[in-house]
């Protein structure tokens, strides 16, 4: 019973983290993209437009929820929930500190990616149930993207797993605290993971599911008010979880080089969030500076370039590590 209460408390904290991040990422996106396009972004309400969030949220809540006649009713209503729940659950696996991790299974990395890859199913349900041509095409593209980029994503995540000898996110962080950040020895993996994360979260150079120029608003064309709000909240949450995963796998997570992990204490979450927002800032700069891929180029990039490159690089890294193990510089754990 006490266990359940504690678990519900964790989940409540997860929701709060998700909402605060969602709100902040919306503001940051407007500001960063605005400055990237030589505009100012929001300036009117509050210091530097920061209070713009409040009327935005109120507006989402009080907008009329338009429900078109032709939709598949149950699936249409269910789709925002299918999108929202797994993107919230992914927050459970991020280690924020020594003890500050909600769920810490041995295969934490794989489970987190598994929950994140349920999201395209919800997006597909939304597009299919809308009975709208743009929404359906957007949904099909979203699935096409998910199947093209999940494999390079998982293969790129293999490098930290090999180096640390564990698929548990906390262990990976500890392994980096004792050595170097994995972005240095496996830079190609980090770059490919970054690209695939950008695709998995449907961000602009690869936002096939909602290419505004060609598909109105893609899968979310027929959604309005809070249903739309939940879709977008999940997208920003996915943004944060993917960035936090990059920070954990390649940038040392909640630790700092040269600082004993045991003494990090409350600075752990602060360090992780700063690193995560640094990665999100990189996402946004890519968003602001590159034009969209065509849909056939998009699939070809995944299958013809990223998969052979990541597989080859992973094997090369394995050979190097094996040689290092023979010399006695690496591995040998029981």
């Amino acid at each position: 019973m006490a266990m359940w209460l504690k678990a519900l408390l964790f989940a409540l904290v997860g929701i709060v983290v998700m909402l605060v991040n969602g709100a902040f990422i919306i503001y940051m996106l407007r500001k960063v993209l605005g400055h990237a396009h030589l505009r100012l972004g929001p300036t009117e309400l509050g210091p530097a437009g920061l209070a713009q969030l409040i009327p935005d949220i109120l507006k989402l809540l009080t907008k009329e929820d338009r429900h078109p006649n032709q939709t598949d009713k149950w699936l249409y209503c269910l789709a925002p929930i299918i999108v929202f729940v797994p993107s919230l659950t992914a927050f459970a696996f991020i280690p924020y500190g020594e003890k500050l991790v909600a769920a810490n299974p041995n295969l934490g990395l794989l489970m987190m990616i598994a929950f994140l890859s349920v999201v395209p199913i919800g997006i597909f349900a939304a597009g299919w149930a809308s009975r709208n041509k743009y929404a359906l095409i957007g949904a099909m593209r979203s699935v096409g993207g998910a199947i093209s980029y999940e494999i390079p994503l998982l293969l790129a995540a293999l490098a930290p797993v090999m180096l640390s000898g564990s698929a548990n996110l906390s262990d990976i962080v500890h392994a980096q605290a004792g050595g170097i950040w994995y972005i240095l020895p496996c830079l190609p993996s980090a770059v490919i993971f970054f690209l695939c994360a950008q695709m998995e979260t449907n961000q602009t150079p690869f936002d096939m599911a909602e290419a505004e120029g060609e598909l109105v608003a893609g899968f979310s064309t027929e959604y309005s008010a809070m249903r739309f709000g939940f879709m977008y909240l999940s997208e920003f949450a996915g943004n944060f979880t993917m960035a936090a995963l990059i920070a954990t796998l390649f940038l040392g997570g909640w630790t700092l080089p040269g600082v004993d992990p045991a003494t990090m204490g409350v600075f752990g979450p602060v360090v992780l969030v700063l690193k995560t927002y640094l990665v999100i800032f990189c996402f946004m700069m890519v968003r602001g500076n590159f034009s969209r891929y065509r849909v056939d180029q998009y699939a070809a990039l995944g299958w013809k370039k990223l998969i052979p490159i990541t597989l080859g690089w992973t094997l090369l890294l394995a050979v190097i590590l094996k040689v290092l193990q023979m010399v006695g510089l690496w591995g040998g754990w029981s």
Partner: protein
């Protein structure tokens, strides 16, 4: 057990929160349906035909390849975890190189056959 309970709590509370948000919106927002609001959006004109027709998704072969490679990736994880373990020699590496080379061979075959072309 601990992790399963926490994940279950996230799933339950997430669904509850989504329902709460949707019902808040239902309580706070006005509902004034008109004929125009109920029509499916198609850039301002009346929609022509239904989208639920037979069409070519363009990536059917990708989907099959995806299943093959996804399973391969899942096999690679336990291998990656035990790569540096004590007492593992070159054999573990040669095994995986053979496995990956066979699969890459399959990928290149599909490529040359034209299955990776977007239609």
């Amino acid at each position: 057990m601990r992790d399963q309970i926490i994940i279950a709590a996230f799933l339950i509370l997430g669904a509850a929160f989504a329902l709460f948000g949707l019902s808040m919106s239902w309580l706070l927002s006005p509902t004034r349906p008109t004929h125009g609001k109920g029509i499916t959006y198609e850039s301002g004109v009346d929609p022509i035909g239904l989208p639920w027709i037979r069409f070519r998704p363009g990536y059917f072969i990708y989907a099959i390849l995806y299943v093959v490679f996804d399973i391969e990736t899942v096999f690679l994880y336990p291998w990656a975890v035990s790569l540096g373990a004590q007492g593992t020699g070159w054999f573990i590496l040669i095994e995986m190189v053979l496995f990956v080379v066979i699969l890459l061979g399959g990928l290149f075959y599909a490529w040359k056959e034209g299955s990776l072309k977007w239609h």
